[in-house]
Amino acid sequence: MTERPNRLGRFAVRGVFWRHYLDWAAINLPFHVYPVQVVFFTLFFFFFAAPARRAIVANLAIVLPGSSRAMNYLRAFRTLSNFAWTISESAIHKLLKEEFSYKIIGAEWLEQLGAAPGAIVLTAHMGSYDLGAALFAEKFRREIRVVRAPEPDRQSAQHLTGSLEKAGEGAVKIDYNTAGALLSFDLLKALRAGEIVSIQGDRAEGEVSQVAARLFGHEVQLPNGPFVLALVAQVPIYPLFIARIGCRHYAIIVHEPIRLENTGDRESDIANGVGQWCAILEETVAQHWDQWFAFTPIFTR
């Protein structure tokens, strides 16, 4: 059976058209055109990406308890605006290799990660995680395998994979987190070979193996893959986030690694690691709620 191309699908909110537009803009638009363009594109997506907008508002109601719904709509606008800025700047970095500046919070952990013989970078849909992988590969001259949730649009997925690999100049390899067990074995092998694997650990999508956890006092489902891998391969998990703090200016936030001890009680060992990760994630999301690009409802009601 052949797949019929959906011509209008490319213009959908998560369609490839917008990714191509960003690439075009990176090459053709001067940087001083961006602010007004970002405001209007954010307005456009604020109205047309209704499921994402509603998800942000619902998540913010829990992240910022006591906040009003009206204010959370404004905060959702701010979050979408930050998303527009980060994906625009990722495109600029990928295509123009323009100069970006950054500051590192937790430099000793980043150095440790750069020298680690096999480690997991646990991150979130926050700030410019794509830029972060490219930066890591550039700074430490090491390969990094980035595991992502599959994109709903096939063309967007192809474009995104190509973009990330191009930004990382061959040092960033992309794997998609699907239900298959093959990827787990592949990642385990990579970790045992001393590679760095980056996984987004703030939401479990699709049929990936999940673990129940508590975040901001509410139940959430998180992927348990990173914790199982860390336990089996006996490698540390480095919580790492990239937050945008200004025009082409980023903060790389690295936390002390989470080490999972194998006590023989697998569930307890994993729960311990998940608990530590949730504490860090909670702290970071509370601080950078406007850059938490959780466009699906995270919290179980």
Binding site: N28, P30, V36, Q37, E99, S101, Y102, C247, R248
Partner: protein
Amino acid sequence: MSTGEFPRFYFALPRLLATFRGGSSKRAENNGGEAWIASIASYLVSYLFFAQFIPATLGLWSGVLSFVLLAFLVWLFSLLALYLNSLVIKLLQVCGLFRSIPIRRAQSILVAGTASAMALQLLGDGGWSAEIAAIWIVAVVMNLAAAAILAFRNGDRAHS
């Protein structure tokens, strides 16, 4: 990427002022304040230019609605203009012009040129929109003068 924290600028005038204060005159595209000011200013000039075509005879609510709608129409116009500019630049490059500078810098010249043409037209109208147009033109002229000074000082290109 760099870990540098030095304030640097894109436009010639702040770059020239930076050199007077011992800073760098090298062009950079990472100054958010500069980007916002230029972006809002060029949008405002375009908005005021098109706003003059809204009939003054409209009622209060239809007038307000027209001005709100105009904000989006000006944005759509700017998207179209930027796209057409990119085609013009490609054509000029085929003809041997603008080959030594990136497309986005050539686009910057066309954006400033278009906004300046609109501002010149606004000048004749009087009122506060003419004041804003005058500020835009003075800023463009000062920027061009600064670009010329930078070019004489250190061989920098004068097209910014």
